[in-house]
Symmetry: C2
Subunit: 219 residues, 2 copies
DNA sequence: TACTTCTTGTGAACCATTTCACATGGCTTC
DNA sequence: GAAGCCATGTGAAATGGTTCACAAGAAGTA
């Protein structure tokens, strides 16, 4: 048993798998499963039961020997671990092709990621209404981010301007950024940055095809 | 020296890093760099020089001792390794929010990923024109995929129908799929499947914020 | 209560990836 | 053409992640 207070380095893979478990547990809940074993969970994710148990064991012991895990209980535990048992106030910057798609996506809000602010620099877009949110002028970024109590930013602007905007976003006090621009952004060490890079996934597929690379897992 | 013919298990991380090197080499080329050292490349990717050299060494020896790598030459080598020195004919299924964004994205074509077919089942979308491509009826999927010589599919349909469509796509002979639906798809072992899951990245950020998790690298 | 069955939680073993460290060899200068 | 410099390429060591294997606990049965 390792309580949450004990600092241990949790690997990126473990966190990603927790996301997968979470999604599957939501499904199992809908299918009215009461309990689930590491074996069953593993089967659904194409992992080993030991992997599932080890992942969970980093955060505590949530199961019952001989029985498995209570679906609803484990789901709530993972929500707490991932920090999605709360609202995250998110701003989206760059209401273009990909930005608009993301605003329309309702699943984010269901998981606690509430897009409450939109920013752009295009006069035709500023003031327009997207899913009930009025697009703000990027000029007011710092002020409005602070007023709206934003803690995460989704960045969907052209790569050429991404670094400038990130600098402003960091100045405004935001410490978590999901970036869609295909560029290496510089941020201070205390800022959490993730890059979403679709071209990279296509390139991986291309490599796999050319080399007949048998994949072990799908990310 | 390990020639391309020698089969060796290359890790997913290595392939992803090759994508990063590729992007940086393209930039360096524009900045008129003639050569680049593993040190410089590593600095730009926030990796170690040894990591860069080891990654490349799996595929051959492309550098010159004392000098570094020729930028243009290495870029071409990586293009060959990744299999992006050719055209991939891609079909996109589901011309909704995210699908439309992807069709408009010109960078894919620049890297050899040519979206040449669109499919949907919505009568209002079938027959409409997106960036010069007429949306086809999903009913004709198999026939049109084969006629158009498609080898990759981008799937941007609701999770509820994704498995049915994947089954048809596989039947049509496609062996590479990039899936945006948040669901575990079943495919035969010879089909390459990658999942793009944005919620997972937000959840990672959430975890990192809550746990003050210092990231080592950004994916 | 004793016995069987089932599945967790976890050190230890195993395997993969990253980093180290240095011999090697090309390039330049004198 | 010898010497010095520099950065590659790569075995070996170190680190990190996954799987094994089993003790132990919970539930059901008799
Ligand atoms: N569209 C895709 O499918 C796709 C796929 C992968 C990556 N991306 C990346 O995502 C980013 C956005 O792509 P897109 O296709 O949505 O582009 P887009 O041009 O449609 O949208 C960019 C938006 O950013 C806004 N913008 C530009 N400069 C700005 C500034 N200084 N401040 C505020 N807003 C500004 C523009 O007005 C526009 O609304 C790009 O970096 C692109 O490379 C897009
Ligand atoms: N929009 C986003 O930002 C976003 C983010 C992450 C993941 N996703 C995922 O991407 C997928 C698409 O999302 P979206 O927001 O673009 O949804 P959407 O509803 O806008 O688009 C889905 C498209 O698929 C088409 N479709 C539905 N059933 C079909 C069928 N049987 N055959 C062919 N076409 C069919 C619809 O007509 C529609 O055009 C979903 O699985 C969603 O969960 C979307």
């Amino acid at each position: 048993m390792s309580p949450a207070s004990v600092k241990k380095r949790i690997s990126e893979s473990t966190i990603h798998r927790l996301s997968l478990y979470y999604r599957t547990l939501s499904l199992l809940e809908k299918e009215n499963y009461e309990t689930v074993s590491s074996k069953e969970l593993a089967k659904r994710e194409k992992l080993t039961p030991a992997q599932v148990r080890k992942d969970l064991s980093f955060f505590g012991s949530f199961g019952t020997r001989g029985l498995g895990y209570n679906v609803n209980e484990l789901k709530k535990k993972i929500e707490t671990i991932l920090g999605i048992n709360r609202e995250w106030r998110v701003a989206l910057i760059g209401v273009g092709n990909i930005g608009s798609a993301l605003v329309s996506y309702k699943e984010f809000a269901k998981q606690g990621f509430d897009i409450v602010k939109l920013f752009d620099n295009d006069q035709r877009k500023i003031g327009s209404n997207h899913k009930g949110i009025i697009v703000s002028d990027i000029k007011n970024l710092e002020k409005e981010i602070q007023e709206a109590n934003i803690s995460m930013v989704i960045l969907a602007v052209p790569a050429t301007v991404a670094q400038y905007i990130v600098d402003d976003v960091v100045k405004a006090g935001v410490t978590a950024i999901l970036n869609f621009a295909p560029i290496n952004l510089r941020v201070p060490p205390y800022v959490h940055l993730r890059n979403e890079n679709m071209a990279m996934e296509l390139e991986y597929l291309s490599f796999a095809m050319v080399n007949n690379h048998s994949p072990k897992k799908t990310k």
